[in-house]
């Protein structure tokens, strides 16, 4: 389980790409050349149509240039397919592993029948014994068992599943390690969690997300514009060539206007092939990055929505605080030394195995060097456990002088009786109180802590200050969130005073105290009413309505089926802090698309400076002034542009899969940074790239 504390606030990273992967995906890339498949990507479809056209031209009127251009146009399409194939390939491997877990499972129905897992219907009740694989998703209705869920979570430590409560959901394909449980199947045939997971990681029925659709529209519009601007150029070219009778026919232009090969090259170079080629790979890779973090998004839409989130609802316990209160201070009353109090507190807590109790022992050791005594060795001590009635725990020590341990503490004749517990209970036990004690108690409560009063028979020694410990690094994390424009709201069952104190310490923007599931739902609705998108995590059945209402609802895998069904993501690690990472991945996905679109469009400027003079300087020599890169010849200029256009796709595949680097910061800072890199870079890089390619290919004879 990744803890927030261990994760420095830094960029989201994804998997790396190895070259073998490119090679392995090649057959699939070639299969994707099928125009029926390519039709879904209009930009690349046009490149393919152009490639077919130039192939025909190269066959009927062969020349070195024609063939090289044709080859590179085909490569452009292949590279685009390769990007998609590589992205899909990663998911496929994962899916294969999942499928293996699903193979040949048998289901043993309660009534003794034995059927194949695939034939299970909703509502069937099955019995699973130790060593058997759970045949389908469902809820435990009887028994308790430890279950190995590594097949889906990758986590080898077994988890407990039991009937009732929030740990009743089991997943098909996981294995019962011990005991026996009875499970009611909740899935429909073929729609199990694993089935859905396989479909998701494979990207089989990947649907375009809203932003992807919008971007596709923009790309289609740009493609049409460039298509128009090139096609309508032809009559103008014919006119110009005819007017300037002195202009000789070249490989680029003759009496029939711009030659077919060059016209296609110009179109391919201008339409946004870079982003067109990488768009679907970016989407698949974005989902993949989530899967790598053991988060399953039920739709791409949810991933995008994560990037848009305005309000993050975070459960206090486990997300913001370590989950348990810990002793932070011993506050003695007048006349008692702190070490005296610490000693008494320690004694009373020796047998207290609750985290709070352990923390008291630890604090006493750290602050006052009091070594922990083994309760088992203290034969003269009787430990009084905590009960709901007494609301106290403590120790009674027999008045025995033999006990070295006891003496060392400073013996009091007549033995000792020490109690610690809630203020009211302890005061009642002592029989009287003082203003001083109530002052200390109130002070601790006001600061959000929990006071534990320590008393020795007849006398109050002081108060232990227990407090919720906020995970380290949370404040920085929330500051980042704020910079990203995300409001964090802490949800807690604590009273408002305690909640306020912790909220202030953690640095969240707001809190919801004494929260009931209804309060949560109401809060989400209120936020949404104001046009804000809300993300939350949840695991219990009573979280289900809120999870369903939230725009991004992340259900814990340990949670109930109802919760998993209601959310649109499932975190297999059941780590509530994952929400923050999910938001970052959502943003990174959008940023990658935007950055590569900008890069792609900015590229066109250099391509114009390569191709326009290459075509038309032959008619109007003055236009050679536009050949700012001083490219070798018209042929080499056009070819360089085409080659660059193809190579840049391959060069950007890793970026598309990994996603651009994302650092949480304000929108202006992000825009400025990405604009410099991908906007300005997009203008400059192709000038350098085309020139470089030209320097090399000018040596090819016939160019």
């Amino acid at each position: 389980m990744t803890s927030l504390a261990s994760k420095t606030p830094s960029s989201v990273r994804g998997g790396l790409l190895d070259l073998n992967q490119l090679w392995r995906s090649l057959p699939q890339a070639l299969a994707k050349l099928d125009p029926r498949a390519l039709w879904r990507n209009p930009v690349m479809f046009i490149v393919e149509v152009g490639s077919v056209f130039t192939t025909v031209l190269a066959l009927t009127d062969p020349s070195v240039l024609a063939w090289i251009i044709t080859v590179w146009l085909w490569l452009t399409v292949v590279f685009a397919n390769l990007a998609e194939a590589v992205a899909e390939g990663r998911g496929k491997a994962q899916a294969a592993a999942l499928r293996a877990a699903k193979q040949d499972t048998m289901a043993y129905l309660e009534d003794g029948r034995e059927i194949a897992a695939t034939e299970l219907k909703q509502g069937d009740v099955v019995v699973v014994e130790a060593g058997q694989v759970i045949p389908g998703d469902g809820d435990v209705i009887e028994g308790i068992a430890s279950v190995d869920e590594s097949a889906i979570t990758g986590e080898s430590a077994p988890v407990i599943r039991e009937s009732g409560g929030d740990r009743s959901a089991v997943t098909g394909g996981t294995k019962v390690l011990s005991d026996r449980i009875v499970v009611r199947i909740t899935q429909k045939p073929g729609e199990s969690f694993v089935d859905r997971m396989i479909a998701l990681v494979e990207g089989a029925n990947r649907q375009k997300t809203p932003n992807e659709i919008a971007l596709n529209i923009l790309l289609a519009a740009l493609t049409i514009i460039f298509l128009l601007s090139v096609v309508t150029l032809q009559p103008l070219a014919i006119f110009s060539k005819a007017y300037q009778a002195a202009a000789p026919d070249t490989i680029a232009i003759n009496a029939h206007g711009v030659t077919g090969i060059v016209l296609v090259s110009l179109i391919v170079c201008l339409i946004p092939t870079t982003i067109g080629a990488l768009l679907s790979a970016i989407g698949i890779a974005g989902m993949d990055r989530l899967v790598q973090r053991n988060v399953l998004a039920m739709s791409g839409r949810a991933v995008e929505a994560a990037g848009d989130v305005n309000t993050l609802l975070l459960d206090k316990t486990g997300t913001i605080t370590l989950g348990n209160r810990q002793a932070s201070e011993f506050v003695p009353v007048d006349g008692v030394s702190a070490s005296e109090l610490a000693d008494a507190a320690q004694l009373s807590s020796l047998a207290d195995e609750t985290p709070e109790g352990r923390s008291i022992v630890v604090l006493a050791k750290n602050e006052f060097g009091l070594r922990e005594r083994e309760p088992g060795l203290m034969t003269d001590a009787t430990f009084v456990p905590f009960t709901a009635q007494t609301r106290m725990s403590g120790v009674d020590i027999e008045p025995s002088l033999q006990s070295g341990e006891g003496r060392a503490v400073g013996a009091v004749a007549g033995g000792r009786q020490i109690r610690k517990g809630a203020a009211g209970a302890v005061i009642k036990w002592v029989g009287h109180s003082s203003d001083e004690v109530s002052e200390i108690v109130d002070g601790i409560s006001a600061s959000g802590g929990t006071p534990l009063v320590v008393a020795e028979k007849g006398r109050i020694l002081g108060v232990i200050h227990l407090k919720d410990v906020v995970k380290s690094g949370m404040r920085a994390r929330f500051d980042e969130m704020r910079k990203m424009g995300i409001r964090t709201v802490m949800i807690t069952g604590d009273n408002p005073r305690t909640a306020a104190a912790i909220a202030a310490e953690a640095g969240v923007d707001d809190f919801l105290a004494e929260a009931t599931p209804e309060d949560k739902l109401a809060l989400i609705k209120k936020e949404q009413e104001g046009g804000r998108l809300v993300a939350m995590t949840g695991d219990g059945t009573n979280d289900a309505p809120a999870l369903a209402q939230a725009d991004v609802g992340v259900a814990m895998n340990t949670g109930t089926s109802a919760a998993k069904e209601a959310g649109n993501m499932v975190d297999l690690d059941s780590d509530p802090t994952k929400l923050i990472e999910i938001v970052e991945i959502g943003k990174q996905l959008l940023i990658t698309r935007g950055a590569l679109t900008t890069f792609s469009i900015a590229n066109d400027i250099a391509k114009y400076f390569a191709i326009i003079p290459a075509i038309f300087a032959a008619v109007y020599p003055g236009l050679d002034a536009l050949n700012v890169m001083r490219l070798h010849s018209p042929g080499s200029a056009i070819l360089s542009a085409v080659i660059f256009n193809a190579l840049v796709i391959v060069a950007l595949i890793p970026l598309a899969l990994r996603g651009v680097r994302y650092r949480p910061s304000s929108a202006s800072a992000l825009l400025r940074r990405n604009l410099w890199i991908y906007g300005l870079g997009g203008v400059i890089v192709p000038f350098l790239g085309i020139k470089l390619i030209d320097l090399i290919i000018q040596f090819i004879p016939g160019i």
Binding site: P210, I213, L218, A221, V231, P235, R532, G622
Partner: protein, 548 residues
């Protein structure tokens, strides 16, 4: 130096008018109280000023009004010989009447005819001038409807077209036009119903001095960014632009409303800084363009300007080169299309600039209303790409730019380039480019200019080309019609779609659309998109000519 002062004073004057005029416009379009005259008009027209229209109804009202206007104007021109004050001119031939009717209703004011030898005074006043007013109002009304879309909270309606039309015409255009007419008359512009006077010149020849209600038409011609001249030589004609200072006033009138519209935007969406950002984009583009145009003309490159010693061909002495170039740039940056000097004889690059200005999509600052909605579309496209780059679903002034919004914005952005490029290519493919006066690249420029001007509803011309042939009149008429009403429909649809949305509150994660970075980005996107679309065609026209 004086030339730059001319520009600087204009900038200062327009800047000074930004807030008061913008605020006034805002009050006019958001006010609800009608005065007696307006109530009378609503009753006559038969509309209830309190009903709100959905985008569909609003669009249909715009189209109905424009369709009726085209038909009415067409018939008017056809039968002008049967009406008063025709000065003995015949009814306008069918293809020219069609072209002219479309031209004035679309706020283009492309003139395939010569004013002084075609149009009687009544046709000029009650036909053409009326459209100068109402076509301008339509542009502003559509822009306001789009702003309402941005400003609305989950609303189905965009206001009432008839109310907008009436209020804008009566409360904004008419009062300013009245004032301007008076100033122009003091400057020496003619305003009579005379059919002209024959005079004997000093050397004994006869000269026919024309008359007409020029000043009143001139005022709205500039204020409404229409540009259709009373005479053939438009604002070069001494009766249409008698002095150097009327020249300045004309430019001010042209610029004041388009530059004040962003203020209306800022006010209505409740963030004045959004208005400042838009006006900054307009200003950067406009100033760069004016500086380049003036620079190219003053430099006077090219064989003939070099031979003459200055690019004075087609320019009048009183305006000189710098002020003429400024006028040429301003009237093409706005969709006015008036000229006080003849662009066809500009230097190659000086003449390219007006073309580029129009190719920008008439957004810097563009025609009244039309410029703002054009720029808001470009800003929307910019927001989309930039918004992705900050990792959120893009939003502009609180409205999400989703698939539907992108579809409409992209289509809008496609229309004009498509009209211009297809039209130009068609002219060459069918040989109709032969009516160009000049040869070679300059002849190509004349054809390209014609369709650029028509498609963008500008109306200026590389006037050497002969365009009063049936093919040209029909083709350019279609270009003007498509270039005006397709975008209007798309804008209103976009407005409707935006209005239905619930606004998203602004946060630190929202792309700030009021900062210099965004302004620079919109400028960049505008220039790059235009350059990428039109560079090939420009390379064979003015660029080839200028680099020879």
């Amino acid at each position: 130096m004086a030339g730059w002062l001319f520009v600087i004073t204009l900038v200062l004057a327009v800047a000074a008018a930004y807030r008061p005029l913008g605020d006034y416009l805002y009050r006019v379009v958001s006010g609800r109280k009608s005065n007696v005259v307006e109530r009378g008009i609503y009753r006559l027209v038969g509309v209830d000023p309190n009903t709100e229209q959905t985008w569909g109804v609003y669009a249909r009202s715009v189209l109905a009004f424009s369709a009726v206007s085209i038909l009415f104007l067409y018939l008017f021109l056809r039968v002008q010989d049967k009406l008063w004050l025709s000065l003995g001119f015949d009814g306008v031939p069918t293809h020219i009447a069609w072209n002219t009717a479309v031209s004035f209703v679309t706020n283009t004011n492309w003139q395939a005819y010569s004013g002084e030898s075609t149009m009687g005074h009544l046709a000029q006043m009650a036909g053409l001038s009326v459209q100068n007013f109402v076509s301008a109002s339509v542009g502003i009304a559509v822009a306001v409807a789009l702003i309402r879309g941005f400003a609305a909270r989950k609303s189905q309606t965009l206001g009432n077209f008839w109310v907008d039309l009436t209020r804008i015409t009566l409360r904004v255009l008419l009062p300013i036009a009245v004032l301007a007419t008076l100033v122009f008359m003091i400057g020496g512009m003619v305003q009579n119903l005379s059919g002209g006077t024959d005079v004997t010149t000093l050397t004994g020849a006869t000269q026919h001095i024309t008359g007409g209600p020029v000043a009143s038409q001139e005022a709205i011609k500039e204020l409404g960014t229409n540009g259709g001249g009373f005479y053939n030589t438009n604002s070069a004609h001494p009766f249409e632009n008698p002095t150097t200072w009327t020249n300045w006033i004309q430019l001010f009138l042209i610029l004041c409303i388009p530059f004040a519209m962003p203020r209306v935007f800022g006010r209505m969406v409740g963030q004045n800084r959004q208005g400042y950002a838009i006006v900054a984009v307009m200003s950067v583009l406009a100033l760069a363009s004016i500086a380049l145009t003036v620079g190219f003309e003053v430099h006077g490159g090219g064989t003939v300007p070099q031979a003459a010693g200055a690019a004075m061909e087609g320019k009048d002495v009183r305006f000189g080169v710098p002020n003429s170039a400024t006028f040429g740039a301003v009237t093409t940056l706005t969709s006015t299309g008036a000229v006080n000097s003849f662009l066809d004889s500009y230097t190659s690059f000086g003449g390219m600039m007006p073309m580029v200005n129009m190719m920008l999509g008439e957004v810097a600052p563009g025609g009244v209303g039309a410029g703002l909605y054009g720029l808001l579309i470009l800003a929307t496209i910019t927001v989309f790409v930039a918004g992705l780059m900050v990792g959120r679903t893009p939003e502009y002034v609180g409205k999400k730019i989703g698939a539907r919004e992108m579809k409409l914005a992209s289509l809008y952005f496609l229309v004009t380039p498509a009209v211009v490029l297809i039209g130009t290519a068609a002219a060459f493919a069918t040989g109709h480019n032969s009516t160009a006066l000049n040869t070679g690249p300059h002849g190509l420029s004349e054809v390209l200019y014609a369709f650029t001007s028509a498609g963008n509803n500008n109306g200026s011309a590389f006037a050497g080309i002969t365009v009063n042939t049936p093919w040209w009149d029909t083709a350019l008429g279609l270009a003007m019609l498509l270039g005006r009403f397709l975008p209007i429909i798309l804008v209103l649809a976009l407005a409707g779609s935006l209005a239905r949305q619930k606004p998203v509150p602004e946060s630190e994660g929202t792309l700030p659309t009021h900062q210099p970075l965004f302004v620079g980005l919109v400028v960049g996107v505008t220039i790059v998109l235009v350059a990428l679309t039109f560079l090939p065609a420009l390379a064979l026209g003015p660029i080839a000519e200028g680099l020879s």
